[in-house]
Subunit: 328 residues, 2 copies
Amino acid sequence: MEAVVKKQYQIDFGAVLSEVHVFAPATVANMICGFDILGFAVDYPGDEVQMFRVPEPGVRIRSIKGDEGRLPVDPERNTVSACVKMLLAHLGIENEIGVEIDLIKHMPIGSGLGSSSASTVAGLFAINSLLGNPLTKAELLPFCVEGERLACGHGHADNVAPALMGGITLVRGYDPLDVIKLPVPEELYAGIVFPKVDVPTRDARQLIKEKVYLRDAVTQWGNIAGLVAGLYEKDYALISRSMHDVLIEPTRAILIPEFYAMKDIALQEGALSFGISGSGPSVVAISKGKEIAERAATAIQEHLTRSEIESFKYVSSVNIDGPKIINK
Amino acid sequence: MEAVVKKQYQIDFGAVLSEVHVFAPATVANMICGFDILGFAVDYPGDEVQMFRVPEPGVRIRSIKGDEGRLPVDPERNTVSACVKMLLAHLGIENEIGVEIDLIKHMPIGSGLGSSSASTVAGLFAINSLLGNPLTKAELLPFCVEGERLACGHGHADNVAPALMGGITLVRGYDPLDVIKLPVPEELYAGIVFPKVDVPTRDARQLIKEKVYLRDAVTQWGNIAGLVAGLYEKDYALISRSMHDVLIEPTRAILIPEFYAMKDIALQEGALSFGISGSGPSVVAISKGKEIAERAATAIQEHLTRSEIESFKYVSSVNIDGPKIINK
C-alpha cells in the first residue's frame, strides 16, 4: 500500500454527495482449478449498501437486512463500517465526515459466494463514490483485502478482486498485490446452486493439507495455464479441459452433500466444468451459454430437492464491471 | 496415441525422397516458473540429421559428430534411430524402407538445452519429410515423447513440444497429451550460458522433493498464470514479475556453480528474469531485446571465466517454426 500512502488526496467537501446506493456482485473464487488466485464476478446475486452523509462525524450501521441477524451492527466489528472507517482514517478525514449505512444482503452468509467481499466492496465503493472518487479501483483494492482479513481471518483477494474489478481476475501475487484482469469469453455463464448446509470458510481451509504432491501441483498448474490461454483464445474446449481441480476439490467435496452426484448431473447437462465455488458449499456449473447453465442448475436443484436438501439457484453471465451505483 | 492409430496412412513409395537434411532447435524447458509444462525453442543452437534412403530395409546410424563419442551408434540404443524405427513400425513399413542417418550435434549433451529432444525431433521430422509428411506435427509429437522416454527415462514433453512445434508451448496435460502454442512477444530473447559442469537430468530430478508446501505451489501457479497472461498481453513487466520459481530453483541451483552470482549479474544487466534452463546446468537470462540478452550472457560468461569455469554462450530470439529442412 506504499503507493497509496504516498499519494496526496484532495477531498472537495462541498462536492461530497449526500447519499449513494451501491450494488456489488457475488463472486466465484478459484474458478475450479485456480485455488487462491482466480475468481470471477456474477451479475446476480450481490449485496447493496446505501450510504448517507450525516452531520455527526463517524461511521455507523443504521440497519442490516437479509443477514438473519448474524452480522454485528457495532461499527468496529462490522467489516463494512470498519473498512469505511479505515479508508476515512487513511484519507485523514475520519473526524470530518459522518456516514450512516444500510446494508442489504441478497445472498446467504457462508455460502462460498464471497458474501463478505460483496458487502465490503459495496461499502468501500460507496464511500469512495460519496467523496467524489479520490481513489482508483486499484487503490481501493488493498482496503478490500483488509476487509477480507477482518471478515475471514485471511487477507485473500480471490473474492474481493473480482467483486471490485469485475470480470475474471488473477491474483498473481501479494507482495506487492498484483491483480490482472483476464478476458471474459462472452458466452461464459455460471449456474450456481447453494445447498443450505453450513460450511464455514475457516473449517474448509483447515481441511486442506499443508503439503501436496509436486506431481499433483504440476497437473494443477498445467490446468491453470490452460485455462488462462483458453480465456484469451475464447477456446471453450480448452477452458473445459483445463477446469479440473485435483488438489482442493477431493478434500472439500467431503463437506458438500451429493457433490459427485451434482457433478455428474452438471456434466451430463453439458456444462464445461463443475466444482466448488470458493470454499463452498455453493457449487457452480460453468457453461457455454445461458441455456446450459440454467439446465444444469435446475437439474442439480431438483436432485437436491429429492435428497431433501433445500437450495438456492442463481444463473448469471460473468459480471464485467464490478460494483455499480444504483439509480433509484 | 489412439487417434493416430486409427488413421490410415498412405505412403507413396515412388515419391519418397532420396535424402533430407533437417535442423531441430534447442529448447529452454520450464521457462523459469513453469516446471514440466512450459518451454520454448531457440534459433540456435540445434542439432542436424541427414537422412538417406538406402535399398536395404532398416534404420542405421552412419555417423555421429559433435557428441564426443558419448552416444551409441547401435540403432536399437540410439534414440534417434530407435524413434525412426518406431515410426516406421507404426506405419507398417519397417520392412520396406531403409534409411541411414548422420547425426550432427551442435550442443553439448546434458546441458539442459534439450539436446536429446533436438536430435529426436530432427530424426522424426526427417523421416516424416522423407516419406512425404504422412503425419502432422501433432501426430508426430507422441513419438517424440517416446524418444524422450528412451533418452531420459521420463516421457516428458516440455522439451520435445517446443522443439517440434516451435515457439512457446504449454503442455497442459498428458492424459491425453495436450499441447498448446502460446503467443511469442517478438522482442523476447534468451541469453543462454552453459557452464561446462556435469549435471545429469536424472540427478537433477532426484533432488526435487516429492511433496511441496501448498502455499509455495499457489505462489508458483499465480506466476505461471501471470506469465501466460503476460505473453498474450505482450506485457513485458508482467512477464518479468511472473518468471520466478520458488519451488524447483532453490534445490537445483545447488548443483550449478555461481548460480546466484550469475542471477545478480543478469538482473543488473536488465534481464526480465534469470533461471535454470530445464534441469541445468545451462542458465538463461530471458530479456526484452537482443542487446540486453547479449549483454547479460556476456557478463555471466566473463564472471564464469574469472571463476575458472569454461562456458558456452548462445543468444537467440524465440524460434517460431521448430524443425526445418536445410537447403544445401
